[in-house]
């Protein structure tokens, strides 16, 4: 499984297509012809995975968005986001941006 840190920069893989319905995301991995449904937080992560912002910034955004309402501390948000990002990378939804990609 990909090792994900707050400094890791991830992007959606090129064959991933998704749209939100009622806050959730219908996700299609074209290469695998696989359809997934992600909950609202998973959909937010897909939005945030633009290949520019490191995962740490996602954590800040999601902690602000969900932390206060649900009384979840930043540490918990960080753990959940890192776990989800690693799972999403393993599932072929996200991929790390490398130095060569930037260059």
């Amino acid at each position: 499984m990909t090792d994900i840190h707050p400094s890791t920069v991830l992007r959606r893989r090129p064959d991933v297509r998704y749209r939100r319905i009622e806050g959730e995301a219908v996700v299609l991995r074209q290469s695998a012809a696989e359809v997934l449904v992600l909950n609202g937080v998973g959909a937010d992560v897909l939005d945030l995975a633009d290949g520019r912002r490191p995962v740490g910034e996602w954590i800040d955004v999601l902690a602000r968005e969900y932390g206060a309402d649900r009384e979840v501390d930043r540490e918990t948000v960080m753990r959940d986001v890192l776990d989800f990002a690693a799972e999403a990378a393993a599932a072929g939804l996200l991929e790390p941006v490398t130095a060569e990609d930037d260059g």
Partner: protein, 360 residues
């Protein structure tokens, strides 16, 4: 939430998910039973208008975009429009007759559009039958060569066919051909009137025996494939009934557009509800009286199907086809009644099958 529940939500809340765009009615084949209204006149949408339309689709969070025709590859801006669709993140399907799908064009489609799926029409298992339907000699051999080429390029391809009186005798061979090619084949058992109401295509309506043979074959093949789908590939709630208020998503989660900008609730239901030359899609989607009427009719269509009892779903009722056959989108047309009757026969035979293989 399961995918089925999300789609039910889209139907209920009128969230546009899928759009089919008929780019042109030009075609390099001449299929006898083509449903396009080739007499339809109007100002074709320009490349810029398509770009604006696609931007609107993106803003409305549309997921699926099908490029169709006529033959969509015959549109002069096909590659530019497909590439724009890819850039905007749609799941792109191309519905083509496959005749021009080769060489540089096929490679550019893969590289510049990266479609999720290319749906190609197969009309028979032999050149005699296929070419009889396309009315272009050599089209069958060329299709087979093109299919091999696009498969080698790595494009995902699916075969579509309509059962007709001319090809029903070789339906088993068509599935065998598809298996040999390593491609899925979907066969529609119903020939429909042309979009302008013309009934000439109905001259090749398949026979009752032909439809029954198709249903038996599909059931056998479904049974065989069910046996090899691992349980892990099924979602936990896929068998949980999903409450819906409508019979289908026509005009609620989907719509279709013809080359002249006319908007329809779906590709089958040819009731224009607006035109992109004079209105934005958002104006049509949110304000068209015709679309509101269609949504109401799909709600009533659910009641029509339910009035046929617990097996009403076997009608596979289509309000668009009903409108084409009878003028009334709520009228259960003879082909639907025949479908239910034949499917009940097939299901009854299935129920009599032994649960375990008989050892002799």
């Amino acid at each position: 939430m399961s995918l089925a529940r999300l789609m039910a939500t889209a139907w209920r809340q009128n969230l546009l998910v899928s759009v089919l765009v008929e780019l042109t009615y030009r075609c390099n084949l001449d299929c006898f039973f083509c449903y396009n209204d080739l007499s339809l006149k109007g100002e074709p949408l320009s490349r810029e208008q398509y770009f604006r339309f696609f931007d609107e689709l993106r803003d409305l969070e549309v997921l699926h975009l099908a490029l169709s025709g006529g033959e969509p590859l015959a549109h002069p801006d096909f590659l530019a429009l497909g590439a724009r669709a890819r850039e905007l993140g749609f799941v792109v399907r191309i519905k083509s007759n496959g005749h021009a799908l080769r060489g540089e064009l096929a490679r550019r489609i893969r590289d510049e559009i990266d479609p999720f799926l290319v749906e190609v029409s197969l009309h028979g298992a032999t050149a005699a039958t296929h070419d009889r339907q396309t009315r272009v000699p050599g089209s069958f051999e060329r299709l087979l060569a093109n299919l091999a080429e696009v498969r080698a390029l790595g494009l995902r391809v699916k075969l579509n066919s309509t059962l007709t009186a001319w090809n029903e005798g070789e339906i088993e061979a068509m599935f065998a051909l598809a298996d040999t090619l390593g491609l899925p084949l979907q066969v529609d058992p119903e020939v429909t009137p042309r979009d302008d109401g013309g009934r000439e295509p109905l001259a090749v309506t398949p026979s009752r025996d032909g439809v029954l043979r198709l249903f038996r074959l599909q059931t056998e093949r479904g049974r065989a494939s069910d046996a090899i789908i691992p349980a892990s590939a099924r979602s936990a709630d896929e068998n949980v009934p999903v409450p819906t208020d409508k019979h289908c998503g026509a005009g609620s989660s989907g719509l279709a557009v013809d080359p002249f900008g006319n908007i329809y609730p779906c590709v089958q239901w040819r009731w224009p509800v607006g035109n992109l030359h004079s209105q934005s899609l958002r104006q049509i989607w949110q304000g068209a009286a015709g679309l509101a009427a269609v949504r109401e009719l799909t709600t009533r269509a659910k009641g029509v199907v339910e009035s046929h009892g617990p097996r009403g779903f076997l009608l596979n009722f289509c309000p668009g086809a009903a409108a084409a056959h009878t003028g009334d989108p709520l009228a259960v047309y003879p082909a639907a009644l025949q479908r239910r009757e034949l499917l009940e026969q097939v299901l009854a035979a299935e129920a009599r099958r032994p649960l375990l293989p008989v050892v002799r």
